[in-house]
Symmetry: C2
Subunit: 444 residues, 2 copies
């Protein structure tokens, strides 16, 4: 038998930390639904051919899946685990287009798998929460404004440290480079995208090697340096003196995003012209979500607009989407001790037993409390007072229900207060009914 | 590019049916938590060696998982997708035993994968919802009473047709056969387990071939024929005149289950001495859940007690668990037209636009309504009255919010009633806030 132990890149939570994760998932789902997104789930596997031909990173590694019992030549085209939720969603849209109503707003919260080298914040199995809006033929640009507001709405309801959603528009660098006379936009973008890693001087050098003049290269780097939490980035770009139709379009669209952000989510979005997330793939807005002061950890989510999320050759389905990296975010906050659950079980009340004959009565008491929405368990065995308290205490269960000579009583084991109680009317304080999430240290 | 299409055995829901599935998952989770079960999730993969050595069915087929980029000799021991939630839970208990508090009550709702030939109700990817209670060293038998009551509590809150949880105790046939002088219990059980497939006469023949006398064989079949919805099965067994200590134990334990069922879940459990679910694996109670009148579809869940869920050689962890086959159950009910969602989106209110300039105001109205728990989306584009109504109607959105000369008004598009409305105070009727599940036909 193989050794018992963790598997690198496949993290698991203990029950208390899973409660933190569930809280995140619940708040995110609730927010997505309040914004009218419908849930879907797609199968975990897709044909390998489909997985290899799509996706935003070229370097992600696919896990192939194959029945162990299959004959070597028996399987037909191979299948693999999905590495994101965008590729399967695109397939779902094409497959079910006739039965969906467009524009289709969907959310999808599922595990994905990538055979990458595991490291902090980078897992081989992790949970993503995605929203996308996809339409037929054309997609209005106001959805590029709406989507980051939905994500901001979800994140600000969560006990997360200060975050920022950095936004750019793919048309801004494209139009800017074209206005400069640099028509190999993809190459220029790839070089400028390295600015955080190699620094601006090296970027200028490489742009010149790639055919830019000194002036062009320096302007490209200056563009990447522009950011603002309002629409003032426009003036800064204009001050560089470059003109192009596509640049105008990009500035206009990003201005709309920032104007809406100022009104509906002040301070949570930042126009940052350095953001270059998968620019060969996106065609309008691009987004990256960072924890403020923890940028070096990498983004905890991102997305953008793609004019051809899916296409069957005749019809094109443009979309815009953002994904939150739930596992990265929750593991990061839990491992830093920034969040913990008040207890490791849903149970709010332990019904104690003086002797085993009381079990049937205890089950009845428990059923009455549960019928009123209070999580209850009955003690595993009859035991002395102190042992029952200790049992509850080890799990963080705040209340123990006793049968005494004077009738039923309930004890708050934290304060020691014990009062007579009727299961039909007694309830714990609202904040004790379910475990809640504590932020042991100030974190923002 | 590979053809777009469904993959046999990997079903997916359209958004409206996904809402039905979510309702099932929500009710089941809520019930499990009210009974004090804590959520865990385990990684999707385990070492193949661990998967092949355990599990209740010998014929299940494991999906191996392997990085496509891995060198042929690079991977070490292989990994595979889990085919149930019991094997990974056993590993989780051993791995984290030092950090868990026993008896440990956990629930786990996750996908599992089996490379079986797909057919109705049998999928290659499906969702299970499991509860288990596991202890160290010994596990009190009252948990065998408690577990089916939890499942019954969940199922009776769901819009499912009449169901029954059939219960047996592994000790009853074992003690009975031993009392008869048939000591090869495993062989006898395997033969009697075929009674539904091959009929009682053939079972008698085969038992005789396996060494039983005619009298022994007939008594074994008579035992398998006994059932009752109360504790009267005990008398029927006694009437067969077989005596054994293990039989007494089994009858006593099953009586406790049925007595508790009569009090806490009348009519939902049935003692059925034919139930033989994986008897080489279970050591006490065994359970199978059926939809009444649809027994031929097979069980929609089941479980039992195992005295060695997990063992590290020194310590043994006995447990009792039951699993609900969510995918089987929901796909069955949805495909039979027994359940449907009132709409295909969470959205309760569509905020219409007279022109695109109103979008910012509309977002503000939507935010106020959402802040009060009402799911809202803003129209994709300004459009005429009729087109907005049609857009809402196609999704089943019940209310459209209009800006009129007289101020904001909201229309119930089903009744046509339109009334003035303030986003700070107006709300849809409670049953319209979220989609609900309809049972188009009487189903019980």
């Amino acid at each position: 038998m193989s050794k018992i132990g963790p598997m690198s890149g496949f993290p698991e939570f203990l029950p208390a930390d899973r409660i933190v994760e569930q809280h995140f998932l619940d708040v995110i789902r609730e927010t997505f639904e309040l914004h009218g997104f419908a849930s879907i789930e797609t199968r975990a596997v897709e044909p390998v051919e489909r997985l290899s031909n799509q996706g935003e990173d070229a370097d992600k590694e696919i896990y192939g899946v194959r029945r162990l019992a299959a004959a070597a030549d028996d399987e037909g085209p191979g299948i693999g685990l999905h590495f994101d939720l965008t590729v399967p969603f695109a397939r779902y849209v094409l497959e079910h287009a006739g039965k969906l109503v467009f524009p289709f707003r969907r959310y999808q919260i599922q595990k994905v798998w990538r055979g990458e080298r595991p490291q902090e914040g980078r897992y081989r199995e992790f949970t993503q929460a995605d929203i996308d809006i996809v339409d037929i033929g054309t997609l209005p640009s106001h959805y590029e404004v709406e989507l980051p507001l939905v994500i901001a709405d979800a994140l600000r309801k969560l006990p997360v440290p200060e975050f920022v959603i950095k936004v750019n528009n793919r048309k801004i660098p494209e139009g800017f480079y074209r206005g400069l006379g640099l028509d190999d936009v993809a190459t220029m973008l790839r070089i400028v995208d390295k600015i955080d890693k190699i620094g601006p001087e090296k970027v200028v050098e490489r742009l010149i090697e790639a055919g830019a003049t000194d002036k062009q290269a320096k302007l490209a780097v200056q563009l990447a340096d522009i950011s603002s939490t309002d629409t003032s980035f426009v003036e800064k770009v204009r001050a560089l003196g470059v003109e192009h139709e596509i640049l105008d379009e990009g500035l206009e669209q990003l201005s709309q995003v920032m104007a809406a952000a100022e009104e509906h989510a002040p301070g949570l979005l930042m126009a940052d012209l350095r953001i270059a997330r998968g620019l060969d793939y996106y065609t309008g807005a691009v987004y990256e979500i960072y924890l403020v002061g923890q940028e070096s950890f990498g983004s905890v989510g991102g997305g953008g607009r793609y004019d051809a999320l899916a296409s069957d050759g005749k019809t094109t389905y443009p979309g815009v989407g953002i994904s939150i990296g739930i596992s990265r975010l929750v593991h990061r906050l839990v491992s830093q001790g920034l969040l913990k659950s008040t207890r490791s079980t849903p149970t709010a009340v332990l019904v104690a037993l003086n002797n085993e004959d009381e079990r049937s009565d205890a089950l009845r008491t428990a059923a009455v409390l549960r019928g009123r929405g209070i999580p209850v368990e009955v003690a595993p065995a009859a035991a002395k007072f102190g042992k029952q308290i200790k049992f509850a205490d080890r799990r963080g269960i705040p209340f123990v229900w006793f049968t005494t000579e004077n009738g039923p009583e309930v004890k708050d084991i934290r304060s020691g207060e014990q009062v007579p109680a009727d299961p039909a009317t007694w309830a714990p304080p609202a904040h004790d009914v379910r475990p809640s999430i504590e932020t042991p240290q100030e974190n923002s």
